[in-house]
Amino acid sequence: MAKKLAAVLGTGQTHHRAKRTDVSMPGLLREAIDRAMADAQVGWPDIDAVVLGKAPDLFEGVMMPELFLADALGATGKPLLRVHTAGSVGGSTALVATSLVQAGVHRRVLTVAFEKQSESNAMWALSIMPPFQMPVGAGAGGYFAPHVRSYIRRSGAPEHIGSMVAAKDRRNGALNPFAHLRQHDITVESVQASAMLWDPIRYDETCPSSDGACAMVIGDERAGEAVPGGAAWIHATAMRTEPTTFAGRDQVNPQAGRDAAAALWREAGITDPLSEVDAAEIYVPFSWFEPMWLENLGFTPEGEGWKVTEAGETALGGRLPVNPSGGVLSSNPIGASGMLRFSEAAKQVMGRAGDYQVDGARVALGHAYGGGSQYFAMWVVGSAKPGR
């Protein structure tokens, strides 16, 4: 492999809220960018290129918004790329930025992802009726509820697992000053008492709709070595895609996710993920996806992810803290949600996660998925250079 080393030099994010009417899109982006550049201790002349990602343009009602945002992104006069791979886009955007460094094209790349759902109406944007396709008509929750029911039936998981995940992630979110939902007093019982939205998914087991942005500066080996306290070295990356529907497709445990994870662990030199990974930021928009993705990612055998959750091993202080930042269940600016997972993983191995820092985290996973559980993007970052 001719890949050059790449590392996260710094990260930044906005305060995520349902409606950030106090800022325009450029203002929202700059909040995340300015924090990331300060965290990375870089100025505009240090940035060689900008890579922007977001979910469908219909979510803001602007076609290819990176064009009008070029000045605000500091991209004018520089290369600017725009990635869109559905809900996984925040992750795949970070991976495109990484490949610019790995390919030896640039030394420092700014990567940004955002969604400002309050500018338009995501439900409208998703309520399209393309020919020859089954309309969803019930939002993402309606789409994924049958997958969750199928998981419960196949695994025999007890009913309270989803509520446990929701209570844990929201309590973690209360430790994160940027989180949209910060519910330190939420309990399994209060989750179970919340309204049923799409059986078996309850209101408190559902991600919010957020305005927000996330940014990272990714640099080459020399830039990484200069980071005070240590950069987050990128050990492995993977992306896989499969079609939305076809006969025999396993939508609960999709092949694309399993293939991506297998490639990821192989590149990272990890043979026992549950033992070797110290923290995981996994894209969990509905609580039950925690055990589902634990299995899909190969942390546990199929049908046993819920046991790790039930034993409390995914809580802060457990064997594998999952979503110590609060995850998608606490903040969901769709296009940025994947990049938040990637950057929160980086913050853990850089020791910059504040009140939700996992003690001694040296290896962390960032994971994103999108579409009908068919687009996967993931990375492994470490406090040491790969192979050390």
């Binding site: 492999m1 001719a2 890949k3 050059k4 325009s24 899109m25 469908p56 343009d57 219909l58 979510f59 803001e60 009602g61 602007v62 076609m63 290819m64 918004p65 990176e66 064009l67 009008f68 945002l69 070029a70 000045d71 991209a75 004018t76 006069g77 520089k78 290369p79 600017l80 790329l81 725009r82 990635v83 869109h84 791979t85 559905a86 991976l95 495109v96 490949s99 790995q102 390919a103 030896g104 094209v105 500018e119 944007a125 399209i128 393309p130 020859f132 396709q133 992306m239 896989r240 895609t241 499969e242 079609p243 939305t244 076809f246 497709r249 092949q255 694309a256 293939d259 991506a260 579409g371």
Partner: protein, 349 residues
């Protein structure tokens, strides 16, 4: 870092209207088959897939997900997508091959502009707070740009008509072109204005279409095509979106991308100029003199499938190398209002 080459190219006919869906599948399936047959590859030989398209053009969210059905993506594939012309998808694939992560890539773009009113759809690329609400459409903005050049004495309406006449004459030899034929400049100049000072011949037609390129490491490409087109430089830049803050008669992003890509001594240039005056801006920006053959395909003035046309310029330029007609060629792609964003590639045989 290793070299990367264009090893194959195919395109759908550029037409005013197709009956297929806006996710491009009907246009993509035949050209995937064509380019794979020509290179002797099958789907499982492709290390990375990357596409360029626009949800706004398709009038729906996630149109690129449906386009994946044209591949038949199971077992799962390594795949990505840019919400840009597919020339930038080619750039992403070029990175992947350079890193050594993959050896081959299939890059595609598609656009069914007939699904909406293109000039109004493109108006939604403008600043949504201060500019888009006024609905200056893409042809209106290009008209302002052309007027600035006329007033500055940089070109005349006759210069513009000459670009159109040459493009249409060249397109007569391009079976995929939508518009072609022999026209007299003097006749073109008697036509009415569409958006003063632009006449119909100054404006790229509204087209449906798709294009696909096979990229491979330079070593692998030798097995796929007799004369691979090795990418010796590929660069892109963006200019400010603030129309009033730019000198619209220039394209600094094209100039700087061209300088970085080292465009000297090219014999042929395929320029993505959807308006006649924009070809003149680009020829100046890229320092292309009379010795350089411009747009032997006829260019996008004779067929302009959005999000596929920039990639097709790279494919057309590479074809000049495949056929042995040229040894060093330039390909260019543009995006955004008034040549805001530009990509320049130099290929060698």
């Amino acid at each position: 870092m290793r070299d990367v080459a264009v090893a194959g190219f195919a395109q759908a006919p550029n037409v005013r209207h197709t009956t297929g869906t806006t996710n491009g599948v009907e246009m993509l399936v035949p050209i995937f088959a064509e380019v794979l047959t020509r290179t002797g590859l099958s789907k499982k030989d492709i290390g990375f897939f990357c596409s360029g398209s626009s949800d706004y053009l398709a009038g729906r969210a996630f149109s690129f997900i449906s386009a994946v059905d044209a591949i038949g993506a199971f077992p799962p594939i390594h795949e990505s997508h840019v919400e840009m012309d597919a020339a930038w998808a080619l750039y992403e694939a070029w990175l992947k091959i350079r890193t050594g992560e993959v050896d081959t890539a299939l890059v595609y773009g598609f656009g069914k502009s007939s699904a909406g009113q293109l000039r109004r759809v493109l108006a939604l690329q403008l600043d949504p707070y201060t500019v888009a609400p006024l609905w200056p459409d893409s042809i209106g903005i290009a008209g302002l740009q052309a007027r600035l050049g006329l007033d500055a004495g940089l070109w005349t309406e006759k210069d513009l008509a000459e670009v159109a006449a040459r493009s249409r004459a060249d397109a007569a030899r391009n079976p995929y072109a939508q518009v072609s034929g022999t026209v007299e400049v003097s006749e073109l100049l008697t036509e009415p204005y569409v958006a003063d000072p632009l006449r119909a011949h100054d404006i790229a037609p509204v087209s449906d279409g798709a294009s696909v390129v096979i990229l491979a490491s330079a070593d692998r490409a030798k097995d796929l095509v007799e004369r691979p087109a090795v990418i010796t430089g590929i660069e892109h830049r963006v200019d400010s979106p603030v129309l009033g803050a730019r000198d619209l008669t220039r394209a600094p992003s094209a100039e700087n991308a061209g300088k970085a890509a080292e465009t000297h001594d090219v014999e042929v240039a395929e320029l993505h100029a959807p308006f006649t005056h924009q070809e003149l801006i680009l020829r100046t920006a890229l320092d292309l003199d009379h010795r350089v053959r411009i747009n032997p395909s006829g260019g996008v003035l004779t067929g302009n499938p959005m999000f596929a046309a920039g990639l097709a310029r790279i494919g057309e330029a590479a074809t000049r190398i495949f056929t042995g007609e040229a040894h060093r060629v330039l390909a260019h792609a543009t995006s955004g209002p008034a040549l805001q964003q530009n990509l320049v590639a130099v290929l060698e045989g």
